[in-house]
């Protein structure tokens, strides 16, 4: 689909556009849904857009396995390295800003100008979060003056595997995944509806950003179907449910209590709180003596 408009394909004089098959992004690869299901994205502006994959519970499980496998390596990477990779994502996205603007516009029906602004905001988000990677300990850690001959310090660490269910927009998707991964978590993103189009093109950005396979896994489809499975999955540590309808959050929190998942939702504002929500404070004691 790239930057071409729907209308251009119907011109008999122009060459026929080569359209992209939208698949999933799991463990750095682009598989189809194991279920073989797709759904139609139809725009009121341009009609049929694409058939992205309707991800299944099995796809979710596969994505969690990939995320879990990748997590310790990603968390062990230096903060400097993680910051550079996040910045690299911004670089890759910048180079393809026009493509994303037209895809967002096409799939969601917003004006191209508005879509372009959204992409630029998304790029700046990556730059902003990239810079946080090596400041989290300064902001959220401490050395603690305990009453005794002990050296005592607290450092924040990534929680593990985080599921995110962002609202149906590209920026909401970026706002959910960037703060989750910068600390060393890995992510399974559940991208709903028309947001699948830009999200799956974004997977191509990730694939060329030196991001290790499995750090971000992207499933497209329905929150109603996937979110309850994510909430009850025992190997998911946290769940960002910002894009879930308020009336449907109760059910997810009840299911998530089974492994005391950290379940949070956020308004759109960017904040280091959004990073720290999916981190744990670890406190270490060691005696001081000769």
């Amino acid at each position: 689909m790239a930057s071409s408009k729907k209308s251009s394909t119907s011109k008999s004089t122009s060459r026929l556009e080569v359209k992209k098959t939208f698949k999933l992004f799991i463990n750095g690869a682009f598989p189809r849904s194991e279920s073989g299901r797709v759904y139609e994205v139809v725009s009121n502006k341009s009609g049929f857009v694409a058939n992205p994959c309707l991800a299944s519970r099995k796809d979710l499980r596969d994505a969690v396995v990939a995320a879990r496998t990748a997590q310790s390596g990603w968390a062990k990477a230096t903060a400097y390295n993680r910051g550079q990779i996040l910045y690299r994502i911004a670089e890759m996205l910048e180079g393809r800003a026009d493509q994303f603007a037209s895809e967002i516009s096409l799939a969601s029906g917003v004006t191209e100008k508005k879509a372009h602004d959204e992409v630029l905001a998304a790029i700046d988000r990556w730059v902003w979060y990239a810079g946080w990677s090596d400041k989290l300990s300064a902001a959220f850690g401490a050395t603690n003056p305990v009453s005794g001959p002990y050296y005592n310090f607290t450092i924040p660490e990534a929680q593990g595997v985080i599921a995110v269910a962002p609202a149906e927009s590209f920026l909401a998707f970026i706002d959910a995944i960037a703060p989750a991964i910068v600390s060393g978590n890995t992510v399974v993103a559940l991208v709903p509806g028309s947001a699948a189009i830009a999200a799956m093109s974004f997977a191509e950005v990730l694939a060329t950003s030196d991001l290790p396979a499995g750090v971000i896994n992207i499933l497209t489809g329905s929150h109603d179907e996937l979110a309850p499975w994510a909430a009850s999955h025992m190997d998911i540590d946290g769940f960002d449910i910002s894009g879930i309808d308020k009336k449907k959050r109760l059910e997810l929190k009840v299911a998530g209590a089974e492994n005391l998942k950290r379940i949070h939702s956020f308004d759109g504002a960017i904040s280091p709180t959004r990073i720290y929500a999916f981190m744990e404070a670890k406190t270490v004691w060691h005696p001081i003596g000769v």
Binding site: A139, F140, A142, N144, P145, V146, S147, G148, Y150, N152, T154, Q159, D237, R249, L250, K253, V254, G256, A257, E258, N259, L260, R262, T273, E280, A281, K282, T283, V284, W285, H286, P287
Partner: protein
């Protein structure tokens, strides 16, 4: 050589236990309707009758806390709030011996621990948080972070007054008011604390204490006037609370169970390590959520260390908690004793090898000898489930990676220990261990300045230090 010790009991004359207690609501003791007995677990002597709080008692306490929040406490400056906390800290220090004896009588833990650890830490918690009250802008939560309102706090029986302090001190320092329920078997020091609030002239309704059982706790959790829940207890109840508040805006911190791994490398200083293992599992009869209940030993030193551990365990004095020489006191309740006995029997049945030193246990009261199980595998229930008693499960490992895998192979993540003389190995292991508190070459150390809390199913949030304040505040601008 065996030393004989003459009895050295602490006098209980310092405490004055009433025959019956009511709830503490709006600054006054209010008689309850139904009562239950609280006993000394070392003798089964009935100490007093405690009120069983119901929904209406909780209603009154929440109303009092709400009124105090809007009328007085939220209008006070942080500076003045802090001064009340300093007062409370000082009165607790003045009456420390009384609290220590009362805690030992009601809980069964040795006077040495209540006198030297529990009560001094209680005073320290109030003193520490008093200083925060007018410095909340510096807590890393933005400018002018705001309290939630009324905090509902439910605490366990293993460190009764200390858990009260962990809950009440930060709540008051941050400007919240409190409805607190002590554990069913250990209400007495909380009720004595109510007198301290009166002596400190704390405004009425800022601290309310409703005694009772699980149903009383549920009434607090479900009360619509409560804005924040703080709970310390079992993971099962923690999950119930998480479900109960799922449809509400209530905030929650949960300090839950653990199955702490104490990892010993072959270069560890062996005598210090043995002391640390004993402290890790036999401190407070093993009624410690962060106990080092899984000892993970490197194979090369396992035999030598276990022999030394047995020699050391034979010197643990089990008996009268009021005796100043006692190391291991009474199990807190008959119910808890049955749970420990049951899991220990499962250990036998699953093929682990049990060892205890010879102990002269009293026929009255609830007692369990310090116990180790060797030949434990990761599949054994005694390696997976929290026993919450003086029972240590011993596993072995060959490589450091294997040690970490075994240590982290649990849904819990509260505490861990690592023993080694090599600095880089210590730091490597502390990085790998998935636990909220890691003790290196020490164990079971606590301080109000040190955040405490778990990863995974050991809970939500932290208590203590700068990190603990976040639980009681909404972020400012």
């Amino acid at each position: 050589m065996t030393f004989e010790y003459a009895p050295a009991p602490e006098s209980r004359a310092i405490v004055d236990i009433k025959a019956k207690y009511g709830h503490f609501i709006d600054g006054k003791f209010v008689p309850g309707k139904k009562h239950f007995a609280t006993i000394n677990p070392a003798t089964e002597e009935v100490l007093s009758q405690i009120s069983l709080g119901g929904v209406s008692d909780v209603d009154k306490a929440v109303a009092a806390a709400q009124k105090a929040y809007t009328k007085t406490w939220s209008k006070l400056s942080g500076k003045e709030r802090g001064k009340y906390l300093y007062r409370i800290a000082r009165i607790l220090q003045e009456r420390a011996r009384e609290f220590a004896v009362l805690e030992t009588l009601d809980n069964g833990k040795p006077i040495r621990e209540t006198r030297d650890i529990d009560i001094p830490l209680v005073a320290a918690h109030f003193f520490y948080h008093a200083g925060w009250a007018d410095k909340l802008d510096y807590a890393g939560l933005g400018k002018s972070p705001q309290p939630h309102g009324v905090a509902g706090q439910i605490i366990p029986w293993n460190f009764p007054l200390l858990m009260l302090a962990w809950k009440v001190a930060p709540a008051l320092a941050t400007g919240n008011t409190v409805v607190l329920k002590p554990a069913e078997t250990t209400s007495l020091t909380a009720l004595l604390f109510a007198e301290v609030c009166q002596q400190a002239e704390l405004p009425d309704g800022v601290v309310n204490i409703v005694t009772g059982d699980g149903s009383t706790g549920a009434a607090i959790v479900n009360h619509p006037g409560i804005h924040k829940i703080a709970f310390t207890g079992s993971t099962d109840v923690g999950k119930k609370i998480a479900r109960a508040i799922a449809g509400t805006n209530k905030k929650a911190t949960l300090e839950l169970g653990g199955k702490g791994a104490n990892v010993v490398f072959d270069d560890a200083p062996i005598d210090e390590t043995v002391e640390g293992i004993v402290n890790g599992i036999f401190f407070n009869q093993g009624h410690v959520c962060c106990a080092g209940s899984r000892l993970i030993l490197q194979e090369g030193i396992a035999d030598e260390l276990i022999e030394k551990l047995k020699v050391r365990m034979a010197k643990i004095r089990v008996g009268d908690p009021l005796d100043k020489n006692t190391d291991l006191g009474a199990i807190n309740s008959r119910e808890q004793l049955s749970k420990i006995q049951e899991l220990a029997s499962v250990g036998d049945a699953e093929g682990a090898e049990r060892w205890s030193p010879a102990c002269n246990l009293s026929a009255k009261g609830f007692w369990f000898a310090p116990t180790i199980f060797t030949g434990v595998t990761q599949a054994h229930r005694i390696a997976r489930e929290e026993i919450f008693g003086p029972v240590l499960s011993i596993l072995t490992f060959r490589t450091p990676q294997e040690a970490i895998e075994k240590a982290n192979n649990t849904p819990f993540g509260l505490s861990a220990g690592v023993w080694s003389e090599k600095g880089s190995r210590i730091l490597w292991a502390t990085q790998q261990l998935r636990a909220g508190v890691v003790w290196a070459n020490t164990f079971n150390k606590f301080d109000p300045a040190s955040p405490f809390g778990g990863y995974k199913e050991s809970g939500w949030g932290r208590e203590g230090g700068k990190h603990g304040l976040a639980a009681y505040l909404k972020e400012g601008k």
